[in-house]
């Protein structure tokens, strides 16, 4: 008898215009002691299935057919049974530990409330049990920490508390929906290890939903690959990752950036299942006619000298002196960037990567330090950004494709605006030609010019974003986590596109990411940041093969590796 058995599950969302099928004919089983991974691109119906198991599908979503059985007990549409089972037999771990704990209650109260709801034990017993649970998930000094509020814990610690909550009533099944997506690499590793350990120790069944193939490879025994609500392939993790059969699974596996070697371009799987090898030859190169051929001179383009940034509210404080105890978002960072190279900035959240990007683009003023672009200082003596000397030459691609395009502008206008700004009095024909060249080079159709950003997917929006950045004919392109909001296969496409564009247009790139495998594929040189301080800076291959700093070593050791199973 299986722990979880899902048969012929159909879920659909009825909206005014159409009925969206979120899952159709889904069948799978899960045994005790097994970890099952569900992967798929966004919108493939992964989370819907998880929500269906605990009967938390929001209207207008509806289970139209099928059965969900736990220990052979039918759960579906039986609110009384599910109330008893949810929390007791099934534990749930949500994606974002910042919001899944109630900030007004102490950890103690949240744990005890859950325990007392499902288990018939006294307050003291429940308290004792809670402390043991916290110890079990690896929270030190649990007797004291249990009195704390959620905001007193860090992100990783909070996710541990959420896991403690999930296992508090000795469930048989844990469903974890993207449990590590919001966490840094080192914490992600700890959470994964914790889940694995608990599975073994308590003989649990675990369902992990994720888009990260590295996590799948490191944790799961079985994998389900989903697409448009259908299971396209399922099987043993090792078999599926080494020998994927369906187009979707192949595309997922092949587009994962390898962690152990650098490849020239990501391979992609076409819709017909054939492999596509991308190269910059595929690029429409009309743009070069208008830009003129650029030469790669390998000269120093950008230099940061002892840049420090302290965030304080300047509107209120009039202090001019720098407080030595203030938190430095960027602390004495110096580096150089040479023409034609790609420099990677790696670090966990709060390491000051994005602040450096903002300082270079003039969005944030540095507190101390000198910044030179092409031999000219970017900030004058009053720390004002010297606009005309650099603007346009330095452009940026942002992380969130959903907020980086003005929703009220047509794509055409988004791209036209910088062109008109830098080439005042450009003729209509030239403008149109320029826009067409740009939309061609980022691989979109010209029809898309007359549409609004919300009509496009994340990957397409990121392409528009790139076109906009290229419109000013920049020499330096700053990419701030350009693919972290995208699915793996889309990520591969965008990264290929960036490489292609760099090859053709001889751009210099500053590539910011927390994702080490991506950084390895994209960069010539890497700088590792921690808490605003440069830990290590070296050539990519040297850094990955022979890291010197302790922190770098740890990052490389802890990153989830898809190769670990192959």
């Amino acid at each position: 008898m299986s722990l979880l058995e899902i048969k012929n599950l159909n879920i659909s969302y009825k909206t005014r215009k159409e009925t969206i099928v979120a899952s159709s004919n889904v069948n799978f089983t899960l045994e005790r002691g097994e970890i099952l991974g569900i992967v798929g691109e966004s919108g493939s119906g992964k989370s819907t299935i998880a929500n269906a198991i605990i009967n938390l599908i929001d209207p207008p979503g509806q289970i139209t057919d099928g059965t969900i059985k736990i220990d052979n007990k039918e759960l579906q549409n039986n609110e009384e049974v599910i109330q008893k089972i949810r929390g007791k037999k099934i534990g749930f771990v949500f994606q974002d530990p910042q919001t899944s704990l109630n900030p007004l209650f102490k950890i103690k109260d949240q744990l005890i409330e859950t325990i007392q709801t499902h288990l018939n034990i006294s307050y003291e017993e429940a308290l004792k049990k809670s402390i043991n649970l916290l110890k079990e998930v690896g929270i030190e000094n649990a007797t004291k920490r249990i009195e704390d509020y959620p905001h007193q814990f860090s992100g990783g610690m909070r996710q541990r508390v959420v896991i403690a909550l999930a296992i508090s009533c000795e469930p048989d099944l844990i469903i974890a929906d993207e449990p590590t997506t919001a966490l840094d690499v080192s914490i992600q590793y700890q959470i994964i290890e914790l889940l694995k350990e608990l599975t073994k120790k308590r003989n649990l069944g675990v369902v992990i939903i994720t888009h990260d193939m590295g996590v799948i490879a490191e944790t799961t025994n079985k994998v389900i690959v989903m697409r448009h609500g259908l299971i396209v392939e399922q099987g043993n993790t090792k078999d599926l990752l080494t020998n994927p059969k369906s187009t979707e699974a192949r595309s997922l596996v092949i587009s994962v950036p390898p962690t152990n070697k650098k490849i020239k371009r990501f391979k992609l799987i076409g819709p017909d299942g054939s492999e596509i090898t991308s190269s910059s030859d595929n690029l429409t190169k009309n743009i070069i006619k208008t830009w003129g051929v650029r030469k790669n001179t390998n000269q120093k383009l950008l230099e940061l000298q002892n840049i420090t940034k302290i965030f304080d509210d300047q509107s209120i404080s009039y202090r001019k002196k720098i407080d030595e105890n203030a938190v430095k978002a960027v602390n004495n960072v110096s580096f150089q960037l040479f023409e034609g190279e790609t420099l990677g900035l790696v670090g966990e959240s709060g390491s000051g990567k994005s602040t450096i990007a903002k300082i270079i683009t003039g969005l944030v003023r540095p507190s101390v330090g000198k910044l030179e672009y092409n031999g000219l200082s970017l900030y004058n003596s009053k720390r004002k950004y010297q606009i005309d000397k650099s603007r346009g030459q330095i452009q940026m691609i942002f992380q969130d494709p959903y907020s980086s395009l003005n929703p009220r502008f047509k794509v055409k206008d988004i791209i036209a605006e910088p062109i008109k700004f830098f080439q005042k009095g450009i003729t209509r024909n030239d403008l149109e030609q320029n826009i067409n060249d740009l939309i061609d080079i980022v691989g979109m159709t010209r029809k898309s010019l007359d549409r609004y950003p919300h009509e496009f997917s994340g990957g397409q929006r990121q392409r528009i974003s790139i076109a906009r950045a290229l419109a000013t004919r920049p020499r330096l392109l700053i990419c701030d986590e350009p693919t972290s909001a995208l699915d793996v296969s889309i990520q591969a496409q965008i990264l290929n596109l960036l490489k292609d564009i760099q090859d053709e247009l001889h751009l210099t790139m500053l590539f910011i990411s927390h994702d080490l495998p991506v950084i390895r594929q994209m960069c010539n040189r890497i700088i590792v940041l921690k808490n605003g301080i440069v830990c290590e800076s070296n050539d990519t291959e040297t850094l990955f093969n022979n890291p010197l700093h302790e922190y770098t070593k740890e990052l490389i050791r802890l990153m989830p590796k898809i190769e670990s199973i192959i």
């Binding site: 300047q314 509107s315 940026m396 992380q399 003005n406 009220r408 605006e417 974003s465 950045a469």
Partner: protein
Amino acid sequence: MIKKTFNKMYDTDIGYSFFNSKIAIISSSIFFIIFLCSFFAGIVAPYNPFDPASVSLMDAFTPPVWSEGGSASFFLGTDQQGRDMFSTMIYGSRISLIVGFASILFAMILGVFLGLTAGYIGGRYEIIVMRFTDIQLTIPTILMALLVDGIARAVISRSMHDEMAIYVLIFAIGISEWPQFARVTRASTLVEKNKEYVSASRIIGLSNIIIMFKHILPNILRPILVIATIGLALAIITESTLSFLGVGVPPTTPSLGTLIRFGNNFLFSGEWWITFFPAIFLVVLALSINLLGDWMRDALNPKLKKR
């Protein structure tokens, strides 16, 4: 052609929400009818109450047509000067609507400009502007309007006063409504200015003016539109209150509030219709705008949308 445009409108989320809300349809049609009537008052109204030739004192105090002594030529009766109530009300609502629209437009331009610049520029400028709105919000709207009106009376010569009255009124109501707009605009600007498309515009090097008015403003129009609608009803009521108190428009060009004030004198002598119909008319007008604003707030705010 018309069917096609209708289908297109119905297809949008706002259009769908509109055509599926009885309240929205009814209130908007009432408002629209009143608006058209007052706009084409010359055609719709049976008499021109401001033309001395058409008014006869002999007709004064005629009750509505259905009560005893009523006359078929004066459907809702006449007032103390023999003016047809129905025509007076339509002409009166014209004044009310003009003052309402103009003062809200004035408040909106001032408030949006200050709120947008305060939110975007920040710093000391923001603190000063927002403290001003805080201070002004402690003064009740009516009091503020009375204050402005009083000052205007002292400054403007008596002979000019009647001509200027309507502009003074617009200014007085507008100046007491702008803090609402400034607050909402500033709050929305703060959200919007941290979005990455604004950063992108700054990196391109666009000027702050262009970023504020071309990029941010179109994205924050929704909440502004909602409070403008609800503010319109408020402005019309404020105008009526001021006119009722006798500091509004002069009696020669009566608004709804002035009519209610006149009628109030005759309420206890039995001529109830002189005050009753303008009052009902005012309630219907203000209510229809308010309900429309309510619907708009729900429809434009995805968080409040019913699933």
